[in-house]
Amino acid sequence: MARLRAILGALFTAFRRDTKSLGSFASNNFFLMSLLFLRQAGVFVYLIVGLVMFFPLSTDPLRKIPPVRLALWPLSPRERRLLRIASPWLNPLTWILAALAVWAASGKVTVALWAAIAAVFTLGFVAPSLPLAPSKELWRRIPNLPGPLNHLIRKNLRELLSTLDFYAALILSVTVLVSRVAGRRLPQEALLPITVLIVLALSSYAQSLFGLDGPAALTRYHLLPVRGWQVLAAKDAAFLLAAFVLTLPLAPLLGLAGALAALAVGHAPSVNRRREQTRWRFSSGASFGNGLGQLVLMAGAAGLVQANPLFLLPLLAGYLGSTWWYGLVIERGRLDS
């Protein structure tokens, strides 16, 4: 038992230190928007909150121990079984889930809601153990693009595809597409808000463009004979491409306007305050202020471009200015600090 106590104690310390994922939902634009505007939506908003909140937290504490190390430790099969049973209880969500189960049994929480939250929790718990090779195979098929930055842009697209932000936006986009294919007419006044909503779902990623690049990738950016603005442009190209494709069923030009605004605001936190992100999680934005700034600018830019497409030109000029400036900041080595 002394061995088990020692391992569980170390796991508890490691799990407690890893509080990064706790903050990931708090500064995600989609989550903030859900809280601000969908308070009246009842169970729906709870499910969104549940999805955004519970998924990042639902990790198996035992994964903190490298599998090889765990296999090498002189533990008996019984001790290993006990460790497997005891370790999930280091995650506070397990206790919450148990409490919800008790409430569900007493009728205070609907069984369906409990089941939905439990499913999200379980998915987050086991997802890292699932073989992800097929998706990597799929990503290999991202088409080549013209220009010397081709492979950098493809890499950045693959990174974007490994965030949940993309899939939240994809669900919205596919819903609109299906509705249109089914012959339902979308009210003209809904075009702008739904387009902005799709870009909004992606926009937290624009505040943490280098979050999925490890230290080695940052070294490579500095070694490549390219200017800082080119490194940033390769990031932006992937984001703009995704935003454009996802808003195709609605108003791609407005989507582009919103995406340019999101990037122009997102460059500063991406470069000045790089925060590491986790794959298969929602991106965390830099702050509530940045998220609000993005939201207001995205809506404003898309609205202006809807009124007159020529407004895209000053927006483009502002975006290019931001790219140039923060490219210089990258060249000064700001990303590493």
Binding site: K136, H151, R154, G214, P215, A216, T219, R220, L223, P225
Partner: protein, 247 residues
């Protein structure tokens, strides 16, 4: 080809590299040797523009490192300490990216990529994402990226660690032949036997300071003896509890 004068790097109160002065001629293979934390990687980072020096000057391929960062990057090939690979690119994509970014034509890039994949036994794993590669494959990919643009100067931070004997031999032969064609090689290593076989200039550092430079003082004894005399001596303490009193 590589020259630095009073190169110094401080991190707060800690001085990692302390007034380093050295010269490496064109076509030389210079091995920078020293224990962990001696300042080898910090020196390489300063010479390749990855880290600005706190004071002092460095020139590489005739250019001031601080004043011409972009032009220097075009002239050097680097195998950095952390390898500098992207998890989301395959081995082959890393090489294709390098060729295009260094201004090679698509045809030339493909040609050199194929050759490097073949020579470094990377062809079978060409479609493997770097994030899924073994340490050895990752190191070979980063090495191939350093060679592909045909640089004037090669900086290799611990190139032989975690490499299989055959690739180690191939890398050794490649470096000897490129140096014979005028390319300057500056490498760090903990494998003294390999350094002794490949290099023709040795610099030993300890605590960020040069303790011996073979271009100034001749090698009077085997490199390993010299290293243990000048840089660090093996610990003589006996771990008496090891192997005793086991139940």
């Amino acid at each position: 080809m590589i020259s630095c004068r009073d190169l110094t790097r401080r991190f707060g109160d800690f001085t990692a590299v302390d007034h380093l002065t050295l010269e490496v001629a064109g076509g030389a293979i210079c091995a920078l040797l020293g224990p962990n934390g001696a300042g080898k990687s910090t020196t390489v980072k300063m010479l390749t523009g990855l880290l600005p020096p706190s004071s002092g000057q460095a020139t590489v391929a005739g250019l001031d490192v601080a004043k011409n960062p972009l032009e220097i990057k075009r002239r050097i090939g680097v195998l950095p300490e952390d390898l500098g690979l992207f998890d989301d690119l395959t081995v082959e994509e890393h090489l294709l990216l390098t060729g295009r970014i260094y201004g090679l034509t698509s045809h030339e890039t493909t040609l050199r990529t194929e050759q490097l994949l073949r020579v470094l036994s990377l062809a079978d794993g060409r479609n493997t994402f770097a994030g899924y590669c073994s340490n050895g494959m990752r190191k070979k990919t980063a090495f191939a990226m350093a060679l592909l643009p045909n640089p004037q100067v090669l900086f290799l931070d611990e190139p032989f660690e975690s490499i299989d004997p055959l690739t180690s031999k191939i890398m050794h032969d490649l470096l000897i032949s490129v140096a014979a064609r005028g390319v300057t090689v500056f490498l760090t290593s903990h494998i003294l036997s390999m350094a002794e076989r490949i290099a023709n200039q040795f610099i030993m550092i300890r605590g960020g300071k040069i303790v011996w430079n073979s271009s100034l003082v001749e090698l009077t004894q085997p490199l390993e003896d010299m290293y243990f005399d000048l840089v660090e001596s093996p610990s003589a303490e006996d771990l008496a509890w090891l192997g005793c009193g086991r139940s």
